[in-house]
Amino acid sequence: MSPALQSYVATLLVYLAVNSIACWGLNLQFGVGGVMNFAFILYQSIGAYITAVLTLPRAAPGVPETYILGWHLPWPLPLAGAAVSGALLALAVGSFALRPRRRDFQATVMLVVSIIAATLVTSEQGWFNGGQGLFAIPQPFSGRLNLGISGYDWFFLGLVAVFAAVVLFFTDRLTGSPWGRRLRAMRDNAEAAESLGTGVRTESLKVYVIGGAIAAVSGGLLVEFIGAWSPAAWGTGETFIFFVAIIVGGLGNNFGAFFGALLVLGVFLELPTFLPTIGSSNTEESVQAAAIGVLILIFLWWRPQGVFPERKHALSRFMPAAAPEPAPGPSQPGTTLSVSDLSRDFGGVRAVDKVSFELLPGTATGLIGPNGAGKSTALKLIAGALKPAAGQVVVGAVNVAGWAPHKVSRLGVIRTFQHTSEFARLTVLENLLAAAPGQPGDSFGGSLLGRRHWRPRQRELLAQAAALLADFQLTELADEYAGRLSGGQRRLVEIMRALMAQPKILLLDEPMAGVNPTLRLTIEEHLRRLRDGGLTMLMVEHELSSVERVCDSVIVMAQGRVLATGTMAELRSNKEVVDAYLVG
């Protein structure tokens, strides 16, 4: 190869490596964590700028180039600075942009952030030299190595390859860990993840910060190679090029992200230079950009999972063959739940009005009443999914009224949902594992420590899950995606998942809805056994025969108030109850 061609090939490979790093960062945020970072390019950019101003010496007086810092630090300190700046920026932006619950809302706010930042950087001459940007940034070790131009390009490729390997190792380790599983669960169903102890806002922020740091490092490496950076390099459109890459490659799959980076580089950035020019260069750019839009539509329509879909985490082969333990009841006894004067209104309508009751361990209580009586609302108030206007919810001896749902659930108050809420792109087995507390690998730090740190606990949990699956006769489906199951099977998964969370108080919101009569009997038997094992249970249900077979006592609600309490037999003879509910 001629030196020029060699240099060209090395340059392309450097771009590929840098883009791969960026794609892995975005994949961690969006593909794994579900956070739609529409400000992605901003993070790559701050990395580039900070690396530049940490590498450059202070701007000489009289030179028109102006910028902050100018610390002239030796390599690789500027890159470390880039990572820190990316993380800090993500922390600042995430603290407000991640506050709305809807992901599309968050994404739009981030898009706005990105546009505003570009305006500010362009107009503030003193930060990074405004619209002209920074240039003549020295390459690392340049001048000290005598390699020739193409030789230096290969050397730099080596450097970038090391960084890429480290980032790949790091992101793979996070994704494959119990914490990664928690993130994927949160991506699939944030509300359900929250009810099982995931602080969604905090975990989203963590993944946003890590991805921001990775993006910043990619930007730092890029600027070290090309030696210049200006607002023209980071229009908001660039963000969507990265999104195209990971959507086409396959969300949640690091190899897919690499493939996407390769494709984008080849098809969009290099191929056009070999094509005959059509129209002006402006037209050509527009056509190219429009093609990116078309590509997004094509993939979201025909192959939303991408060329290389997320790898299925088939863990059933690690389950012990025969259940070594007896069917797990609650591993710890239940606790008392006492609710007093609980109230909540919606725009003038009293949905729950001074509701009080006490539930004891080892009892199952039904909560019945006509539609709109406030049953589900009461359940949500207890679980923290809604904030009560007044009243107390005492779990054991702690008043949890007004707590966030994930904090309430950590005390052992676990609820199931009226509409099935499985983590669709996790397997059945993973759904169970994701709910279990006390997994040391279930945190950012813990996941970094690697398999050896969390495998022993995973083995225990696999044994528990195996026993549950055998008990509910779903062992065959352990490795099936939960989203592929029938409605009734998904109910069972949800109940098993709640049990894996080691509840002390189980709140069931219409567990029998959409379940066939045979399966209903199975669920009832399980619930009775759990009750006898000492669990505290509250069940909202319209299927009165099930309530009668499972519950010791029943609370009747109507129009937000408790109308009566007693056994089903007693309630049948209560005229008020019969009038309000049982008849009409």
Partner: protein
Amino acid sequence: MSQIVLSLGFGLVTASILAMGAVGFTLQFGVTNLFNLAFGESMTVSAFAAYIAHNDLHSNMWLAMAAGGLAGMVLSLMISRLIYLPFLRRGTAQFAMVMVTVAVSIIGKNVLSAMSGSGFYSYQLPPERPVHVLGMVFSPRQLVIIGLAAASLLGLHALFRYSRLGKAMRATSDDAGLARSVGIPTTHLISAAWLLSGLLAGLAGVALAMDLGTFDFNMGGNFLLIIVAAAVFGSVGEPYGAIAGALVIGIASELAAIVNPELKNVVAFGILVLVLLLRPEGLISGRVQMRAEVAA
């Protein structure tokens, strides 16, 4: 002081355009639950449609404005029928739908760019004598814009309040499932919402182009930023909230422009951040949350 009053006038004009845009954006969101980031491109296309009507076909500006509104309606209905609805029927996830609207926005913007080139366009309207109102200075054209916004928003209010269509739309916005179950034909309603939203986008687009004097293919996309800020301010999906947001953000950004014109968008953004920190789901989030809870 007079500077502030003067800016108040500019703010009123901006707020009028913004109100039409934000209400169009939020109305469509309320009925279809879709965060449409291609809304700005509908505005730009309409501005170009009015340009063709006025500069090439030599119609007067009123007709050109109507042409813009019509273009907005047609485009909005076409995009929803040909792209958004098929994706929604497939059960495409919420996050993926935003990507779909982004893709449409990218395609729209770049097709416009390829067709219009990088130059700026202007309606070439004759100069007018400014009008003084309470210390504020308007061109008659700006008064037309304010009047247009007031008329279209009052019309919308009457529609919501008194017509069957408007009531059904509010019901669908509150709870689509329930509305369907009581016999409201939601598909027609959704089309109506897209048409109305397109009309408002079209009018806002032409008004913005008139107010700015010159425009290019980026106009609507750039303006979407403060539309989103206004819509989020008043809780997305709430037309009256969006009007409040438009007033606050429109006037605040013009006041900030006294200090530095570059600050316009930054102030809009600052207000957006503040609202998100204080009330993550927007100003009148209580109602929205109630809906979500009652629906669940």
